[in-house]
Chain length 144, copies 3
Amino acid sequence: MPHLVILYSGNLDARTDVSVLCRSLADTMLAQRDEAGKPVFPPGGTRVLAYPAPHFAISDGGTAGRAAGGDGDYGFAYLNLRMGRGRTEAVQQGVGHALMAAAQAHLAPLMAAMHLGVTLQIDVGAEVFDAKHSSLHPLFNKPV
Amino acid sequence: MPHLVILYSGNLDARTDVSVLCRSLADTMLAQRDEAGKPVFPPGGTRVLAYPAPHFAISDGGTAGRAAGGDGDYGFAYLNLRMGRGRTEAVQQGVGHALMAAAQAHLAPLMAAMHLGVTLQIDVGAEVFDAKHSSLHPLFNKPV
Amino acid sequence: MPHLVILYSGNLDARTDVSVLCRSLADTMLAQRDEAGKPVFPPGGTRVLAYPAPHFAISDGGTAGRAAGGDGDYGFAYLNLRMGRGRTEAVQQGVGHALMAAAQAHLAPLMAAMHLGVTLQIDVGAEVFDAKHSSLHPLFNKPV
Protein backbone atom coordinates (compact mmCIF):
# COMPACT_ATOMS: atom_id res chain seq x y z
CA MET A 1 0.00 0.00 0.00
CA PRO A 2 -0.85 2.53 -1.19
CA HIS A 3 -2.07 1.50 -4.54
CA LEU A 4 -4.02 3.30 -7.19
CA VAL A 5 -6.20 1.27 -9.55
CA ILE A 6 -7.62 2.79 -12.71
CA LEU A 7 -10.65 1.17 -14.29
CA TYR A 8 -11.53 2.68 -17.65
CA SER A 9 -13.46 2.13 -20.82
CA GLY A 10 -11.24 0.33 -23.32
CA ASN A 11 -11.89 2.86 -26.07
CA LEU A 12 -9.47 5.27 -24.38
CA ASP A 13 -6.44 3.13 -25.29
CA ALA A 14 -6.67 4.27 -28.92
CA ARG A 15 -6.64 7.90 -27.79
CA THR A 16 -3.95 8.14 -25.12
CA ASP A 17 -1.05 6.25 -23.60
CA VAL A 18 -2.31 5.07 -20.24
CA SER A 19 1.16 3.82 -19.24
CA VAL A 20 2.27 7.45 -19.31
CA LEU A 21 -0.68 8.38 -17.12
CA CYS A 22 0.29 5.63 -14.67
CA ARG A 23 3.85 6.98 -14.43
CA SER A 24 2.60 10.53 -13.94
CA LEU A 25 0.29 9.44 -11.12
CA ALA A 26 3.01 7.36 -9.44
CA ASP A 27 5.39 10.32 -9.59
CA THR A 28 2.67 12.50 -8.10
CA MET A 29 2.22 10.07 -5.24
CA LEU A 30 5.96 9.91 -4.62
CA ALA A 31 6.12 13.71 -4.47
CA GLN A 32 3.52 14.06 -1.72
CA ARG A 33 4.74 15.35 1.62
CA ASP A 34 2.99 15.45 4.97
CA GLU A 35 2.84 18.32 7.47
CA ALA A 36 6.32 17.45 8.69
CA GLY A 37 7.76 17.44 5.17
CA LYS A 38 8.14 13.69 5.08
CA PRO A 39 7.05 11.53 2.13
CA VAL A 40 3.43 10.46 2.50
CA PHE A 41 4.02 7.19 0.65
CA PRO A 42 7.00 4.81 0.80
CA PRO A 43 8.68 4.50 -2.61
CA GLY A 44 8.83 0.73 -2.39
CA GLY A 45 5.08 0.56 -1.79
CA THR A 46 3.79 2.96 -4.42
CA ARG A 47 2.14 1.49 -7.51
CA VAL A 48 -0.47 2.25 -10.11
CA LEU A 49 -2.31 -0.40 -12.10
CA ALA A 50 -4.63 0.42 -15.01
CA TYR A 51 -7.26 -1.83 -16.57
CA PRO A 52 -9.07 -1.11 -19.83
CA ALA A 53 -12.51 -2.73 -19.82
CA PRO A 54 -13.16 -4.66 -23.04
CA HIS A 55 -16.89 -4.47 -22.37
CA PHE A 56 -18.63 -1.37 -21.07
CA ALA A 57 -21.78 0.73 -21.26
CA ILE A 58 -21.76 4.42 -20.45
CA SER A 59 -24.74 6.65 -19.90
CA ASP A 60 -27.29 6.47 -22.76
CA GLY A 61 -24.79 4.76 -25.06
CA GLY A 62 -24.22 7.78 -27.29
CA THR A 63 -27.69 9.13 -28.13
CA ALA A 64 -27.26 12.51 -26.45
CA GLY A 65 -23.73 12.85 -27.79
CA ARG A 66 -24.87 12.30 -31.35
CA ALA A 67 -27.81 14.65 -30.86
CA ALA A 68 -25.27 17.27 -29.80
CA GLY A 69 -23.40 16.80 -33.07
CA GLY A 70 -20.68 14.45 -31.85
CA ASP A 71 -19.94 10.83 -32.73
CA GLY A 72 -21.53 9.48 -29.57
CA ASP A 73 -18.30 7.95 -28.32
CA TYR A 74 -18.25 8.24 -24.54
CA GLY A 75 -15.37 7.46 -22.24
CA PHE A 76 -14.97 6.88 -18.55
CA ALA A 77 -12.07 6.52 -16.15
CA TYR A 78 -12.36 5.67 -12.48
CA LEU A 79 -9.31 6.18 -10.29
CA ASN A 80 -9.39 4.57 -6.88
CA LEU A 81 -6.62 5.03 -4.39
CA ARG A 82 -6.58 2.79 -1.38
CA MET A 83 -4.30 3.94 1.38
CA GLY A 84 -3.63 2.88 4.94
CA ARG A 85 -5.15 4.35 8.06
CA GLY A 86 -3.53 7.03 10.18
CA ARG A 87 -2.97 9.94 7.80
CA THR A 88 -4.56 13.30 8.47
CA GLU A 89 -7.52 14.59 6.52
CA ALA A 90 -5.32 17.39 5.21
CA VAL A 91 -2.91 14.83 3.76
CA GLN A 92 -5.76 12.83 2.25
CA GLN A 93 -7.21 15.92 0.59
CA GLY A 94 -3.81 17.06 -0.61
CA VAL A 95 -3.13 13.70 -2.20
CA GLY A 96 -6.55 13.67 -3.83
CA HIS A 97 -6.23 17.13 -5.32
CA ALA A 98 -2.70 16.43 -6.58
CA LEU A 99 -3.74 13.16 -8.25
CA MET A 100 -6.83 14.72 -9.81
CA ALA A 101 -4.70 17.56 -11.18
CA ALA A 102 -2.26 15.07 -12.70
CA ALA A 103 -5.11 13.04 -14.22
CA GLN A 104 -6.77 16.14 -15.64
CA ALA A 105 -3.50 17.38 -17.12
CA HIS A 106 -3.01 14.08 -18.92
CA LEU A 107 -6.63 13.70 -20.00
CA ALA A 108 -7.33 17.31 -21.02
CA PRO A 109 -7.00 16.61 -24.77
CA LEU A 110 -9.44 13.70 -24.50
CA MET A 111 -11.80 15.72 -22.33
CA ALA A 112 -11.96 18.31 -25.11
CA ALA A 113 -12.31 15.77 -27.93
CA MET A 114 -14.93 13.40 -26.55
CA HIS A 115 -17.53 13.09 -23.82
CA LEU A 116 -15.46 11.79 -20.95
CA GLY A 117 -16.11 11.32 -17.26
CA VAL A 118 -13.28 11.07 -14.75
CA THR A 119 -13.83 10.22 -11.11
CA LEU A 120 -11.21 9.90 -8.40
CA GLN A 121 -11.98 8.47 -5.00
CA ILE A 122 -9.74 7.69 -2.07
CA ASP A 123 -10.61 4.92 0.33
CA VAL A 124 -8.93 4.26 3.64
CA GLY A 125 -8.69 0.52 3.95
CA ALA A 126 -10.68 -1.22 6.68
CA GLU A 127 -8.95 -4.55 6.15
CA VAL A 128 -9.12 -7.19 8.88
CA PHE A 129 -5.88 -8.81 7.70
CA ASP A 130 -2.88 -7.23 6.08
CA ALA A 131 0.37 -8.91 5.08
CA LYS A 132 3.23 -7.78 2.92
CA HIS A 133 6.23 -9.50 1.45
CA SER A 134 8.58 -7.55 -0.71
CA SER A 135 11.97 -7.56 -2.35
CA LEU A 136 11.26 -3.99 -3.47
CA HIS A 137 11.21 -2.19 -0.13
CA PRO A 138 14.81 -3.11 0.75
CA LEU A 139 15.98 -1.08 -2.26
CA PHE A 140 14.81 2.03 -0.46
CA ASN A 141 15.59 1.10 3.12
CA LYS A 142 19.32 0.65 2.96
CA PRO A 143 21.59 1.53 5.84
CA VAL A 144 23.33 4.81 5.13
CA MET B 1 -20.77 7.47 -9.56
CA PRO B 2 -22.56 5.17 -9.58
CA HIS B 3 -20.60 2.55 -11.32
CA LEU B 4 -21.08 -1.14 -11.72
CA VAL B 5 -18.03 -3.34 -12.19
CA ILE B 6 -18.35 -6.93 -13.37
CA LEU B 7 -15.52 -9.34 -12.65
CA TYR B 8 -16.02 -12.69 -14.32
CA SER B 9 -14.25 -15.84 -15.39
CA GLY B 10 -12.95 -15.37 -18.93
CA ASN B 11 -14.55 -18.58 -20.17
CA LEU B 12 -17.91 -16.79 -20.29
CA ASP B 13 -16.85 -14.64 -23.25
CA ALA B 14 -17.16 -17.61 -25.60
CA ARG B 15 -20.69 -18.22 -24.38
CA THR B 16 -22.35 -14.80 -24.22
CA ASP B 17 -21.91 -11.19 -25.31
CA VAL B 18 -20.98 -9.34 -22.15
CA SER B 19 -21.24 -5.96 -23.90
CA VAL B 20 -24.95 -6.64 -24.30
CA LEU B 21 -25.16 -7.47 -20.60
CA CYS B 22 -23.41 -4.17 -19.78
CA ARG B 23 -25.93 -2.22 -21.86
CA SER B 24 -28.84 -4.04 -20.24
CA LEU B 25 -27.54 -3.27 -16.76
CA ALA B 26 -26.88 0.39 -17.61
CA ASP B 27 -30.42 0.72 -19.00
CA THR B 28 -31.74 -0.87 -15.82
CA MET B 29 -29.84 1.66 -13.72
CA LEU B 30 -31.13 4.54 -15.82
CA ALA B 31 -34.71 3.30 -15.38
CA GLN B 32 -34.60 3.31 -11.57
CA ARG B 33 -36.82 5.83 -9.81
CA ASP B 34 -36.90 6.88 -6.18
CA GLU B 35 -39.93 7.36 -3.92
CA ALA B 36 -40.58 10.75 -5.50
CA GLY B 37 -40.44 9.35 -9.00
CA LYS B 38 -37.10 10.94 -9.78
CA PRO B 39 -34.21 9.09 -11.44
CA VAL B 40 -32.02 7.41 -8.86
CA PHE B 41 -28.89 7.81 -10.99
CA PRO B 42 -27.79 10.72 -13.17
CA PRO B 43 -27.49 9.67 -16.84
CA GLY B 44 -24.08 11.33 -17.20
CA GLY B 45 -22.72 9.36 -14.26
CA THR B 46 -24.01 5.88 -15.02
CA ARG B 47 -21.52 3.32 -16.31
CA VAL B 48 -20.85 -0.38 -16.38
CA LEU B 49 -17.39 -1.90 -16.89
CA ALA B 50 -16.81 -5.64 -17.33
CA TYR B 51 -13.55 -7.52 -16.95
CA PRO B 52 -12.99 -11.13 -18.01
CA ALA B 53 -10.29 -12.74 -15.87
CA PRO B 54 -7.72 -14.56 -18.00
CA HIS B 55 -6.69 -16.61 -14.97
CA PHE B 56 -9.18 -18.04 -12.49
CA ALA B 57 -9.97 -20.98 -10.26
CA ILE B 58 -13.50 -21.83 -9.23
CA SER B 59 -14.61 -24.26 -6.57
CA ASP B 60 -13.03 -27.71 -6.94
CA GLY B 61 -11.95 -26.99 -10.51
CA GLY B 62 -14.51 -29.23 -12.16
CA THR B 63 -14.38 -32.52 -10.27
CA ALA B 64 -17.93 -32.41 -8.94
CA GLY B 65 -19.25 -31.15 -12.27
CA ARG B 66 -17.71 -34.02 -14.15
CA ALA B 67 -18.92 -36.49 -11.52
CA ALA B 68 -22.40 -35.13 -12.15
CA GLY B 69 -22.05 -35.92 -15.85
CA GLY B 70 -21.06 -32.47 -17.09
CA ASP B 71 -17.86 -31.20 -18.66
CA GLY B 72 -16.60 -29.63 -15.43
CA ASP B 73 -16.56 -26.14 -16.90
CA TYR B 74 -17.52 -23.71 -14.15
CA GLY B 75 -18.23 -20.02 -14.50
CA PHE B 76 -18.49 -17.10 -12.15
CA ALA B 77 -19.61 -13.51 -12.40
CA TYR B 78 -19.40 -10.95 -9.64
CA LEU B 79 -21.32 -7.72 -10.06
CA ASN B 80 -20.41 -4.90 -7.71
CA LEU B 81 -22.27 -1.62 -7.72
CA ARG B 82 -20.74 1.24 -5.81
CA MET B 83 -23.11 4.12 -5.22
CA GLY B 84 -23.01 7.31 -3.22
CA ARG B 85 -24.38 7.83 0.27
CA GLY B 86 -27.79 9.26 1.02
CA ARG B 87 -30.25 6.97 -0.74
CA THR B 88 -32.89 5.11 1.22
CA GLU B 89 -32.68 1.41 1.94
CA ALA B 90 -35.80 0.92 -0.17
CA VAL B 91 -34.06 2.49 -3.14
CA GLN B 92 -30.92 0.40 -2.56
CA GLN B 93 -32.97 -2.80 -2.42
CA GLY B 94 -35.00 -1.83 -5.46
CA VAL B 95 -31.85 -1.17 -7.47
CA GLY B 96 -30.33 -4.45 -6.35
CA HIS B 97 -33.36 -6.53 -7.25
CA ALA B 98 -33.72 -4.83 -10.64
CA LEU B 99 -30.07 -5.38 -11.52
CA MET B 100 -30.13 -8.99 -10.39
CA ALA B 101 -33.24 -9.60 -12.50
CA ALA B 102 -31.53 -8.08 -15.54
CA ALA B 103 -28.41 -10.17 -14.96
CA GLN B 104 -30.42 -13.34 -14.51
CA ALA B 105 -32.43 -12.68 -17.66
CA HIS B 106 -29.25 -12.31 -19.68
CA LEU B 107 -27.44 -15.22 -18.07
CA ALA B 108 -30.32 -17.71 -17.91
CA PRO B 109 -29.12 -19.73 -20.95
CA LEU B 110 -25.65 -20.02 -19.43
CA MET B 111 -27.05 -20.88 -16.03
CA ALA B 112 -28.88 -23.79 -17.64
CA ALA B 113 -25.92 -24.93 -19.75
CA MET B 114 -23.08 -24.83 -17.24
CA HIS B 115 -22.36 -24.58 -13.54
CA LEU B 116 -22.41 -20.85 -13.01
CA GLY B 117 -22.40 -18.66 -9.92
CA VAL B 118 -23.63 -15.07 -10.05
CA THR B 119 -23.30 -12.70 -7.11
CA LEU B 120 -24.42 -9.08 -6.97
CA GLN B 121 -23.43 -6.79 -4.15
CA ILE B 122 -24.03 -3.11 -3.61
CA ASP B 123 -21.60 -1.03 -1.60
CA VAL B 124 -22.18 2.49 -0.40
CA GLY B 125 -18.87 4.26 -0.78
CA ALA B 126 -17.06 5.43 2.35
CA GLU B 127 -14.51 7.45 0.40
CA VAL B 128 -12.51 10.14 2.19
CA PHE B 129 -11.93 12.06 -1.04
CA ASP B 130 -14.17 12.34 -4.06
CA ALA B 131 -13.59 14.42 -7.18
CA LYS B 132 -15.25 14.42 -10.56
CA HIS B 133 -14.45 16.05 -13.86
CA SER B 134 -16.69 15.38 -16.79
CA SER B 135 -17.58 16.51 -20.27
CA LEU B 136 -20.41 13.97 -20.19
CA HIS B 137 -22.65 15.46 -17.52
CA PRO B 138 -23.22 18.73 -19.43
CA LEU B 139 -24.97 16.74 -22.17
CA PHE B 140 -27.74 16.00 -19.71
CA ASN B 141 -27.80 19.23 -17.72
CA LYS B 142 -28.69 21.72 -20.40
CA PRO B 143 -30.80 24.76 -19.71
CA VAL B 144 -34.31 24.23 -21.07
CA MET C 1 -18.63 -15.13 -1.63
CA PRO C 2 -15.88 -15.42 -0.71
CA HIS C 3 -13.83 -14.31 -3.60
CA LEU C 4 -10.21 -13.51 -4.00
CA VAL C 5 -9.16 -11.02 -6.67
CA ILE C 6 -5.52 -10.67 -7.72
CA LEU C 7 -4.43 -7.45 -9.40
CA TYR C 8 -0.89 -7.61 -10.68
CA SER C 9 1.57 -6.00 -13.01
CA GLY C 10 1.32 -7.67 -16.42
CA ASN C 11 5.05 -8.33 -16.61
CA LEU C 12 4.61 -11.26 -14.22
CA ASP C 13 2.79 -13.34 -16.85
CA ALA C 14 6.06 -13.98 -18.68
CA ARG C 15 7.64 -15.24 -15.47
CA THR C 16 5.05 -17.49 -13.85
CA ASP C 17 1.77 -19.27 -14.51
CA VAL C 18 -0.83 -17.28 -12.63
CA SER C 19 -3.53 -19.88 -13.34
CA VAL C 20 -1.53 -22.28 -11.19
CA LEU C 21 -1.37 -19.66 -8.46
CA CYS C 22 -5.16 -19.23 -8.66
CA ARG C 23 -5.69 -22.97 -8.23
CA SER C 24 -3.27 -23.09 -5.29
CA LEU C 25 -5.07 -20.25 -3.56
CA ALA C 26 -8.52 -21.76 -4.19
CA ASP C 27 -7.34 -25.09 -2.78
CA THR C 28 -5.99 -23.23 0.24
CA MET C 29 -9.34 -21.57 0.79
CA LEU C 30 -11.16 -24.88 0.46
CA ALA C 31 -8.85 -26.43 3.07
CA GLN C 32 -9.58 -23.84 5.77
CA ARG C 33 -11.43 -25.06 8.84
CA ASP C 34 -13.02 -23.09 11.66
CA GLU C 35 -12.79 -23.74 15.41
CA ALA C 36 -15.40 -26.49 15.10
CA GLY C 37 -13.53 -28.20 12.28
CA LYS C 38 -16.04 -27.15 9.65
CA PRO C 39 -15.05 -25.69 6.27
CA VAL C 40 -14.73 -21.92 6.46
CA PHE C 41 -15.82 -21.46 2.84
CA PRO C 42 -18.48 -23.30 0.86
CA PRO C 43 -16.97 -25.12 -2.13
CA GLY C 44 -19.63 -23.80 -4.50
CA GLY C 45 -18.82 -20.23 -3.52
CA THR C 46 -15.04 -20.24 -3.60
CA ARG C 47 -13.33 -18.52 -6.51
CA VAL C 48 -10.16 -16.72 -7.45
CA LEU C 49 -9.88 -14.27 -10.33
CA ALA C 50 -6.56 -12.78 -11.48
CA TYR C 51 -6.03 -9.71 -13.64
CA PRO C 52 -2.73 -8.69 -15.23
CA ALA C 53 -2.59 -4.92 -15.67
CA PRO C 54 -1.42 -3.98 -19.18
CA HIS C 55 -0.44 -0.54 -17.89
CA PHE C 56 1.30 0.03 -14.58
CA ALA C 57 3.89 2.12 -12.77
CA ILE C 58 5.73 0.81 -9.74
CA SER C 59 7.86 2.79 -7.33
CA ASP C 60 10.54 4.85 -9.08
CA GLY C 61 10.14 2.92 -12.32
CA GLY C 62 13.39 1.00 -12.04
CA THR C 63 16.03 3.59 -11.15
CA ALA C 64 16.95 2.12 -7.77
CA GLY C 65 16.83 -1.41 -9.14
CA ARG C 66 19.28 -0.57 -11.90
CA ALA C 67 21.50 1.33 -9.46
CA ALA C 68 21.60 -1.88 -7.40
CA GLY C 69 22.85 -3.81 -10.41
CA GLY C 70 19.55 -5.29 -11.58
CA ASP C 71 17.54 -4.73 -14.74
CA GLY C 72 15.10 -2.37 -13.05
CA ASP C 73 12.13 -4.61 -13.75
CA TYR C 74 9.73 -4.33 -10.81
CA GLY C 75 6.65 -6.42 -10.18
CA PHE C 76 3.64 -6.13 -7.95
CA ALA C 77 0.78 -8.38 -6.95
CA TYR C 78 -2.14 -7.36 -4.78
CA LEU C 79 -4.37 -10.10 -3.40
CA ASN C 80 -7.68 -9.01 -1.98
CA LEU C 81 -10.05 -11.45 -0.35
CA ARG C 82 -13.56 -10.28 0.34
CA MET C 83 -15.48 -12.50 2.71
CA GLY C 84 -18.81 -12.30 4.47
CA ARG C 85 -19.43 -11.10 7.99
CA GLY C 86 -19.68 -13.34 11.02
CA ARG C 87 -16.41 -15.22 11.13
CA THR C 88 -14.12 -14.95 14.13
CA GLU C 89 -10.93 -12.94 14.09
CA ALA C 90 -8.98 -16.17 14.60
CA VAL C 91 -10.52 -17.60 11.43
CA GLN C 92 -9.79 -14.40 9.50
CA GLN C 93 -6.17 -14.43 10.61
CA GLY C 94 -5.80 -18.12 9.88
CA VAL C 95 -7.15 -17.66 6.37
CA GLY C 96 -4.87 -14.70 5.78
CA HIS C 97 -1.73 -16.48 6.92
CA ALA C 98 -2.56 -19.60 4.90
CA LEU C 99 -3.18 -17.61 1.72
CA MET C 100 -0.04 -15.54 2.16
CA ALA C 101 1.98 -18.72 2.67
CA ALA C 102 0.54 -20.21 -0.52
CA ALA C 103 1.24 -17.01 -2.46
CA GLN C 104 4.79 -16.82 -1.14
CA ALA C 105 5.45 -20.46 -1.99
CA HIS C 106 4.37 -19.88 -5.57
CA LEU C 107 6.13 -16.55 -5.97
CA ALA C 108 9.40 -17.37 -4.20
CA PRO C 109 11.37 -17.85 -7.44
CA LEU C 110 10.15 -14.48 -8.72
CA MET C 111 10.83 -12.80 -5.40
CA ALA C 112 14.43 -13.97 -5.67
CA ALA C 113 14.82 -13.03 -9.35
CA MET C 114 13.26 -9.56 -9.43
CA HIS C 115 12.14 -6.74 -7.20
CA LEU C 116 8.62 -7.81 -6.35
CA GLY C 117 6.06 -6.60 -3.86
CA VAL C 118 3.20 -8.82 -2.70
CA THR C 119 0.38 -7.56 -0.51
CA LEU C 120 -2.58 -9.53 0.77
CA GLN C 121 -5.53 -7.90 2.43
CA ILE C 122 -8.81 -9.31 3.65
CA ASP C 123 -11.92 -7.18 3.72
CA VAL C 124 -15.17 -8.11 5.39
CA GLY C 125 -17.90 -6.88 3.08
CA ALA C 126 -20.17 -4.08 4.29
CA GLU C 127 -22.56 -4.47 1.38
CA VAL C 128 -26.07 -3.00 1.64
CA PHE C 129 -27.45 -5.50 -0.87
CA ASP C 130 -26.39 -9.05 -1.52
CA ALA C 131 -27.94 -11.52 -3.94
CA LYS C 132 -26.76 -14.83 -5.27
CA HIS C 133 -27.94 -17.11 -8.03
CA SER C 134 -26.03 -20.25 -8.74
CA SER C 135 -26.11 -23.56 -10.53
CA LEU C 136 -22.80 -24.38 -8.86
CA HIS C 137 -23.88 -24.63 -5.23
CA PRO C 138 -26.31 -27.50 -5.86
CA LEU C 139 -23.38 -29.69 -6.90
CA PHE C 140 -22.18 -29.59 -3.31
CA ASN C 141 -25.48 -29.55 -1.47
CA LYS C 142 -26.94 -32.86 -2.54
CA PRO C 143 -29.08 -34.94 -0.26
CA VAL C 144 -27.07 -37.84 1.10
